[in-house]
Symmetry: C2
């Protein structure tokens, strides 16, 4: 029985994780839940899974929950301290890191330092602090297991292979909701249209990132750190059906691919059971019913942010931190309807253009660059839009 802590339990990944655990109750016990402000859902989750500790973003929400479970021995905390206590608790076997954006970094680092198995859904952690997280994992013995379907696929294709025989890794991208939209129409795309992802049900931030392909750019950087690939060994292919998640080309011309139904529960379960597997919670893949799997090259004109991500991937250092910060701010502005869809890449380009490369060794270095770039990006938005 593995003890599981979930950081971000009321988000899409958190809810799917609990659904997987619901199907495999004899293998997992939920010991801790950290949520944002969705107290109604957290309350339900507490009643069903009976964790020992929960954490909320704000003090008042924590007090509300504490009142609702007065008779129970539930410990209720809040804020950064609360989520760090849960992430760093040495009593967990697995920490599912599913808080979106840079906010997920500190608790992920805490979990890695505690030497846990970290099921990583918070790709931004790896993007901005990949080098640091790898070094800390080496020290503590922590195992970082990807939850992104693409990286889960890579991990599965690499199993049993000698790394020196791997020539290239390709992550697939659905192309998002605007894959077939004419470039002139892109300008008018609304928040609602950007959030209507054709294949995956995900959080808002990552859904917008899928529409711009920045999500795939971040995943390239994540793959670099997760698996220690060189930038030139990583590639992206558009695959609208989102059935093939990753392709690993070996030096002899063979390509290994991982396929599965388009449902996050599959990579989540793999991360929880790794290196073992358990029975599926979904019907099997039916390729004859799907009919055709299509593949297209990435059109640079349609997805200008992917070139920026490739630049950050090759550049290393603070480039990825800067890119991620600018993108988070721009996507927030788009979701708040302050800028249009095409402005996301304009804003990110302008913000990153002025970035001066520097070495980022510590968490403080990273958070410094992050803060500066957020200010800069907000200024650009204010001045220009």
């Amino acid at each position: 029985m593995k003890k599981v802590a979930i950081l971000g339990s009321t988000g899409t990944i958190g809810r799917n994780t609990l659904d997987v655990i619901r199907h495999h109750q004899k293998h997992f016990r939920v010991t801790a839940l950290a949520a944002g402000s969705n107290i109604r859902l957290l309350e339900e989750q507490i009643r069903e899974f009976r964790p020992e500790i929960v954490s909320l973003e704000r003090k008042e929400d924590a007090e509300f929950i504490r009142n609702r479970f007065k008779k129970d021995s539930l410990r209720v905390t809040y804020g950064l301290d609360g989520v760090l206590e849960i992430g760093g608790n040495p009593g967990n076997d697995i920490v599912v890191s599913a808080i979106t954006g840079i906010n997920g970094l500190k608790p992920t680092l805490a979990a890695v330092r505690a030497g846990k198995s970290v099921a990583l859904a918070n790709k931004e952690s790896m993007v901005v602090a990949g080098s640091l997280l790898r070094a800390e994992a080496r020290k503590s013995g922590a195992r970082i297991i990807p939850v992104d379907s693409e990286h889960s696929g890579v991990l599965q294709c690499l199993a049993g292979e000698n790394r020196r025989n791997v020539k290239k890794v390709t992550l697939t991208a659905s192309g998002g909701p605007f894959f077939r939209t004419s470039l002139s129409e892109l300008r008018k795309k609304t928040v609602e249209e950007a959030l209507a992802h054709p294949r995956w049900k995900m959080g808002k931030k990552v859904t917008v990132d899928s529409a711009t392909l920045m999500n795939k750019g971040l995943e390239l950087i994540e793959a670099r750190w997760l698996f220690d690939f060189k930038p030139g060994e990583l590639d992206v292919l558009i695959h609208p059906q989102s059935i093939v998640h990753a392709l690993v080309e070996m030096r002899d011309g063979s390509v290994l691919a991982q396929l599965s139904p388009t449902d996050m529960k599959i990579p989540i379960q793999f991360a929880l059971t790794y290196p073992e597997r358990e029975d599926a919670v979904l019907p099997p893949l039916d390729l004859a019913r799907i009919g055709a799997l299509e593949f297209y090259p990435v059109e640079a004109k349609r997805y200008p942010l992917i070139r920026l991500a490739t630049w950050a991937l090759r550049e290393g250092g603070s480039a990825a931190v800067a890119l991620n910060a600018a993108n988070e701010v721009a996507v927030e502005a788009f979701l708040a309807r302050r800028i249009g869809f095409l402005a996301i890449s304009d804003v990110v380009h302008r913000a990153v253009d002025g970035h001066e490369q520097r070495t980022v060794r510590t968490l403080d270095d990273i958070l410094d660059v992050d803060r500066l770039m957020r200010e800069r990006t907000s200024q650009i938005i204010q001045q220009r839009y």
Copy 2:
């Protein structure tokens, strides 16, 4: 430097094997070649690869070759003794078993008994004598590595996986040249049309077997013995592009697939280098250029022989021996223009209908059933066509 003996050096697999070795001369040395009657090509192969021993089918061909290499220390043999001497030579590291049909069985068995790595292209050996070959390999320590692209794909997908997590293995079939032919047109198909395979360049027997899908039926039986799968764990899917060769479904819903350009040199090289890999001798797979990978269920009406193969797969015992013998005779008759295309499955059905299941433990048991069924099938053809 691995010493390689090739049984069937002038056939399609033999020529492709020598092409792979030509590209990797520092890893392989050709020590022995066994050919049929293509003395012109064998002479070229001897001059290029300088084996120590060669064997031909007939004495007069052996004498011709002996005369051509009088000054060299080449040993020239012939007939079954010659090919068995080469197959069973303990000096080889790898024996490539690429003689077509039941004729490949005895030399394959000799190689397995000698405890060699056997790169197996002769699927009929496994179909008729899978149980025997596995038992002999266990005794001698021989390793049987498939050369068929589908089984090579399965082997690659299984690497690093715990076998108890495997739920289903799917072999793909191109569907052959008549996949889109109307059923009423099938009757008129000529030898030339059956031999015009859309994807693979192969020998005549296997190309006709691809058109009837018997090839895939034989491969199901082969997979059973190669990997110790249960009949219910094996499936077939039509995939006209022949890029995905095998799919392995894990219990958690993930599917691992092996893809490669449609060229036998890739699985041949994998068998020669297994468990390592060497650089490709072909340009890499370009999925964006290929565009779409299609998958269709198998239409039982179009491919009646696949049901018969599934029956033999489940039945075990002598059923597969009988099926293989009847099919070999029927395909020969089709290639000799004595029967039409649809008659192949008619003849095989009639022949197998009268077969009485029996236990086949030894090589003699197998060859007995084979001989009886060949006689029976020939009679059916004589009486009815």
